[in-house]
């Protein structure tokens, strides 16, 4: 029972205990305790993996934890912890009549199932098990998105379920084709292990590999939110409760992109090594331009942030598509900063919506006058997402522009166009909220505010610290590791 087993244990145990606890606040505190335990364990795991330099295996090589995976695990478990604390006060403030009784009863179980699924994806070496983990996470998050009793929430959950169901079905098709390709090399049982596939990939016939990667790319791409496949994302984020949409945009998108990266590195030393980068670049640029343009026509707060998530995920996929060490560094920094600031933005959106009762941008006015603290948090997180100096996103965007600039000049112009449009759109939409005069929306006070503010504040502090003192020592070992794996 090495460290990986230890880290999975609290999630599995909580799945057994949580369903039978009826008292909601108790269930909340238990799930937060479990998440904190998991976070502490992930710190130990990270410490061990960083020092030992060798990836750790578990359960006859089905679980693998290398430097990149441990970075994602650290990020996911930290955000999972803070979201679980935030969820306590958020659900406490929610008006119980709006919530669907069954989903509310199993909220924390679904939450832990979701986190376990995420962890499963990040830790899995066995691509079949990776699919099972993603399917588990999707189903759990679908249930959570349908928390509210409104018909829009139901519709959003249903669309999310069907679209991601079909998407993941395609991913399973890709996994099977890959498995068949591996079995032609006589790998048999071990054909599903990623490490085996990396070494065997040059021998597998190129056409088969290409078709399987396309299925996997489209399947997991729907989860990442590449543009033609992104339609479930704005509805799920806009209608779901704030902690769930924070999880969705903070963790799920990253985990899905992590899965695609696994398969990209698998193809790295075959004849097809350019295919993944080309796909990532094409969908990245389409995504940036489409999201930047559609940001102009958003009329709801959380839907605006959903489209901004699509834009940032496309930026990250451009960075991974470029592939140079500088681009990898920019991508990792951008991914972590984006998750932290986007979750902080969703937390403050949750506070604002609970107090103002509405999320249409035209009705939210004079926030700093009526709710100074959550308005300040929303302000800082918006300007962090816009990429203005103190935030880490400012640096990662600069590095991204430099990487694209070094690749070729045409990309940089497209990238600058996308960045400029997105900046103008978000600024245009968010600007009237803070210091405008006419506020004809009645503001209700928050009942339980112990956990309402500190999670968002903690995230923003980390983002600003990373903005001023760029975390080299944390990210460059990972970049060297990836470069090692690739060459």
């Amino acid at each position: 029972m090495n460290l990986i087993g230890l880290i999975l244990l609290p999630g599995v145990l909580s799945l057994l205990i949580l369903p039978c606890i009826t008292n909601r606040t108790w269930a909340g505190y238990i799930s937060s305790a479990v998440c904190t335990l998991c976070f502490v364990l992930s710190i130990f795991l990270a410490y061990r993996v960083y020092n030992s330099g060798q990836p750790i295996f578990f359960f006859h090589q089905w679980f693998l934890c290398d430097k990149l995976a441990v970075f994602f695990i650290l990020l996911n478990s930290f955000i999972g912890m803070t979201t679980s604390f935030y969820a306590i006060s958020y659900l406490n403030n929610e008006n119980k009549l709006h919530l669907h009784p069954l989903v509310y009863r199993f909220y924390h179980t679904g939450y832990q199932l979701f986190l376990l699924g995420m962890l499963g994806v990040l830790l899995s070496n066995n691509i079949g098990m990776m699919w099972v983990a993603i399917e588990l996470a999707t189903i759990a998050s679908v249930a959570l998105v349908g928390l509210y009793h409104t018909s829009e929430a139901l519709e959003a959950a249903w669309k999310y379920l069907i679209l991601c169901g079909v998407g993941i079905g395609l991913a399973l098709l890709g996994t099977v084709i890959l498995y068949i390709g591996a079995s032609t090399q006589g790998l048999g049982e071990h054909g599903l292990l990623w490490t085996q596939l990396v070494s065997e990939a040059p021998h597998i016939p190129a056409k088969l590999l290409a078709v399987s990667f396309v299925f996997l790319f489209v399947g997991y791409g729907t989860k990442v939110g590449f543009v033609p496949l992104h339609n479930w994302l704005p509805d799920a984020h806009a209608e779901g409760p704030a902690p769930v949409s924070a999880l969705l945009s903070g963790l799920l998108l990253n985990a899905a992109l992590f899965a695609i990266l696994r398969f990209k590195w698998m193809l790295s030393n075959t004849s097809l090594h350019t295919l993944p980068s080309v796909l990532l670049l094409i969908f990245g640029f389409i995504g940036v331009l489409f999201a930047a343009l559609s940001l102009f026509r958003q009329r709801q707060l959380k839907r605006l942030f959903a489209y901004s998530s699509i834009e940032h995920m496309s930026l990250i996929s451009i960075a991974f598509g470029l592939g140079t060490p500088l681009a990898l560094f920019a991508a990792l920094l951008h991914m972590s900063m984006h998750s932290l600031s986007k979750t902080a933005a969703f937390f403050s959106c949750g506070n604002v919506m609970q107090r103002a009762g509405t999320q249409t941008l035209s009705k939210l006015r004079d926030l700093s006058g009526q709710m100074p603290v959550s308005a300040a948090l929303l302000l800082i997180s918006t300007f962090a997402i816009l990429g203005l100096p103190p935030s880490g996103l400012f640096i990662s965007e600069l590095l991204l522009i430099l990487a694209a600039f070094k690749a070729n000049i045409g990309l940089t112009i497209l990238l600058l166009l996308g960045l400029g449009l997105a900046f103008l759109a978000i600024l245009l939409k968010m600007q009237p909220l803070f210091w405008s005069k006419s506020a004809h929306v009645s503001i209700m006070p928050l009942k339980n505010r112990h956990h309402a503010y500190w999670p968002a504040a903690l995230h923003l502090v980390i983002v600003i610290i990373a903005g001023v003192f760029v975390p080299f020592y944390l990210l460059s070992p990972i970049v060297n590791y990836i470069a090692g794996v690739l060459s």
Binding site: V132, I162, G169, V176, S183, A238
Partner: protein, 217 residues
Amino acid sequence: MINDWLLFLISIMLLCGVLMVVGTHITSVLKLLVAQNTLLAVYLLTKAIYVPNAALFVSVAITVIVKVIILPLLLWKLARFLHLSGRVEPIVNKPTLLLLTTALVFFALILSRNMLTFLPHTSAAGFSLALANAFVAMLLVIVRRKAVTQVIGLLVLENSIFILAAALSTGFPWLIELGMSFDVLVGFMIFTLFLMRIQREYGSLQIHNFEKLKERV
């Protein structure tokens, strides 16, 4: 001889899929789904008998329990609870539907022909038929007006992928098989939960009341 029998089984499954797409009554679609599950179980059984291997027997057991016994039971209770009846009008009329299915099957055949150049022709045929089944399942999810048929489409997609895996290789290790079928089961539970909510919310399972989340400037 055995390969011809296996090939025959897969083609029957493809037939069930196509019938589901063009099927009119919801109950007939449900019956065809159950038929496809049993065909899958029979396929795995024949494979297990002729190529004796412990993992295959375990996966046959799992498929029989989950797909042939539990799922039809749940489907039947669901149908009675939602008192499903009446016609299922697809979005596009029947002739174009048939044209679409033939185009999809044709594409699946070309795709698998190009992809599996290194395999002998016979085993590749099974793969291409299973792939065609998967594409037809996707069409089933897209085309139908009722929410239930979308669920059924997803289940048919899962079936076709299982048959695909079984057709060419010895199938997944049993633990993965167990995980997958567990996911399908839990997915189905969520589906039933939502279908009941839709039924209570709208009183009917029509898709057209799912168009509120449109974006206007």
